[in-house]
């Protein structure tokens, strides 16, 4: 049944396809960065400072004469890493806590859900900013901190699924067969409870990319010399009036990539949850 729905939806949802294309191209650019880059992204070239876009430098060069196109290819890697790893962390935490809360209910549920309430009260950018600045800002810390502050919705969704699943007959049957709690949770509930995950995960990647670039733009994200779209924009701010290309292209890259993941996520929602299709 699923494949027909998927095929029909794929045909219908040109937006989803557009999202897939964008995400695919950006991932390809990130993976093939060493092949596609025309210059060393880190090597300054003082003879080629602030050159506008040309055949030699597709996107121009920055104040140190580094090739913007090559730097942005490597920046795509940073965005992709941050998106995937931080979403992986938030899925892990959210699924674990959601399963536990929904399955054991009672005090466990109460504690976990109050913890979720508390975390949801914080402006997450405040928390992220404080923690990243305190642990020295680097790629790993950023990924971990974004993951640690974005798992709450996953936990709620998985808990809701688990709550309804645990009363279903096949779970009772498994319990009567003598399956342990752990085996019921992992083998029977988990595979059924993660239905909403693909959508949340895809939209989460988009959110994480935006947060990373904002942090890097504030100077507490990915640090020199590693290029990220956010810190290229930060450096470009100094020469905003004379080198527009440094401020235009990285921002466009963020916009298009985030747009791609959002389109993909919305499209997946239409496929997986036709009730919500609008």
């Amino acid at each position: 049944m699923f494949p027909e729905i998927a095929r029909r939806s794929l045909r219908l949802h040109s937006l989803l396809l557009l999202g897939l294309v964008i995400v695919g191209l950006m991932s390809l650019a990130a993976i093939l960065a060493p092949v596609l880059s025309t210059h060393d992204p880190l090597a300054p070239n003082l003879d080629a400072k602030l050159l506008p876009p040309s055949a030699a430098h597709f996107f121009g060069t920055d104040a140190l004469g580094r090739d913007l196109f090559s730097r942005m290819l490597y920046g795509a890697r940073v965005s992709l890493w941050v998106g995937f790893i931080s979403v992986g962390i938030s899925l892990g935490i959210g699924t674990g806590l959601g399963l536990a809360a929904g399955y054991f209910r009672g005090l466990v549920d109460e504690c976990i859900m109050r913890f979720v309430d508390v975390m949801l009260c914080f402006p997450s950018f405040f928390l992220i900013l404080a923690v990243v600045a305190f642990l020295e800002p680097n790629l790993v810390n950023i990924m971990v901190v974004i993951g640690l502050t974005s798992w709450m919705n996953v936990a709620r969704l998985v808990r809701a699924e688990t709550l309804s699943l645990r009363e279903r007959e096949f779970i009772h049957a498994a319990r009567l067969c003598g399956a342990s709690s752990l085996s019921i949770l992992l083998r029977h509930i988990l595979p059924n409870a993660i239905a909403p995950i693909p959508v949340v995960a895809t939209l989460g990647v988009a959110g994480a990319i935006l947060i990373e670039s904002s942090l890097s733009f504030l100077g507490i994200g990915v640090q020199y010399p590693l290029p990220s779209w956010g810190n290229i924009l930060l450096e470009g701010k100094q020469t905003l009036e004379i080198a527009w290309w440094l401020s235009l292209f990285p921002g466009l890259a963020i916009l298009i990539t985030v747009l791609g993941y959002n389109l993909l996520g919305e499209g997946l929602r239409d496929i997986f949850d036709p009730r919500l299709a609008r």
């Binding site: 508390v118 402006p123 916009l255």
Partner: protein
């Protein structure tokens, strides 16, 4: 009813306690100490000075004791003194910065709603039409637009090239010499771009939400009744459908608070506006523990209050749920 109220108060107390625990541990578990800048990083300071500073701020005590002392002062609304050189009470520092952030976000929310409601209604009415497709495209762009980049582009075009708006700050140099109307205009010119950027950011979510909410309501039978009565479409849409469609927006308002407060860090840093976001940013950079904890508790506390207000308003606006108050944000 009293039982519900008691449960609600208990929930509130538990969540607030949780907020203080997180605000405290997040900072104290990180390596380093707030006095690092004055001691280990300062070649003029010796070990003795470091010890005296730690003693002065109570940093040599065990963490649970530090937390308990901080909490005891917190319940009396005493957030302690800032660790920066002026050592003023954290409460005063926040109090002078908070109004600007609240005003900015208030105006943003107001403009967002004013624009999002008609957009959402018209898009829902002409579902699949040109207007709907156009706004859907705008919504996706709005979701994906990095606010700081949009600010950068706007500053480049409107402040640098056209010189319509000032680059940053809250007042021009000659602000004091202006007439009252001139002062207001000056302020408006400084705030125009920041407000535009944050309104653009939240407009996407709200108009999309209102659109699907209206679509949901339009399916119900009382709308069919209203149409069958021969009421003009305008009345059906804006009087009958909109009222019920706006109910979930109340909850959305409460939920969007943390995002708005968090987002103010970026907007206020770019436009050098002396609000709470900028205060928090400088506090983080200076490792001003009491100020950071104060901002975290207050930021989360504001969200908590916002959610409770949203819940109360929901109860007032929708008689159906009045008897069954659920805990705010409960799932």
């Amino acid at each position: 009813m009293p039982a519900i109220l008691a449960r609600k108060c208990l929930w509130l107390a538990a969540v607030f306690l949780g907020i203080t625990v997180i605000s405290f541990t997040v900072i104290h578990l990180a390596p380093g100490s707030p006095t690092d800048l004055e001691t280990t990083l300062n070649p003029m300071a010796d070990l003795e000075a470091g010890k005296r500073l730690a003693d002065f701020y109570g940093l040599d005590k065990p963490l649970p004791e530090q937390y308990w002392n901080w909490l005891k002062r917190l319940v009396r609304l005493d957030f302690g003194n800032s660790m920066s050189s002026d050592a003023r009470p954290v409460m005063d520092k926040i109090a002078e910065r908070l109004p600007l952030t609240l005003w900015l976000n208030g105006i943003t929310l107001f403009l967002t709603l004013i624009l999002a409601i008609p957009i959402g209604v018209i898009a829902a009415r002409n579902r699949g039409g040109l207007f709907d497709k156009g706004t859907t495209l705008l919504v996706f762009i709005g979701f994906a637009m990095p606010g700081f980049w949009l600010s950068l582009l706007l500053v480049l075009h409107f402040s640098i090239e056209l010189q319509w708006f000032p680059l940053s700050g809250l007042e021009s140099l000659d602000h004091e010499s202006l007439s009252p109307a001139g002062k207001l205009l000056d302020l408006a010119r400084h705030l125009a771009l920041p407000i535009f950027v944050s309104t653009f950011g939240s407009l996407a979510g709200y108009s999309r939400f209102i659109r699907s909410s209206i679509l949901e309501v339009l399916r119900q039978e009382y709308i069919l009744t209203a149409r069958a009565k021969g009421l003009p479409e305008r009345i059906v849409l804006f009087r009958h459908a909109l009222r019920n469609a706006l109910l979930p927006v109340i909850t959305l308002l409460g939920l969007s608070l943390p995002g708005l407060i968090g987002g103010s860090v970026i907007i206020e840093s770019i436009f050098s506006l002396p609000g709470m976001g900028q205060l928090f940013y400088t506090a983080v950079m200076a490792r001003d523990y009491p100020l950071i904890m104060g901002c975290l508790v207050l930021g989360a506390g504001l969200t908590l209050v916002g959610n409770i207000l949203a819940d109360a308003c929901y109860g007032l606006a929708d008689p159906r749920i009045r008897g069954s108050l659920r805990p705010a944000g409960g799932s």
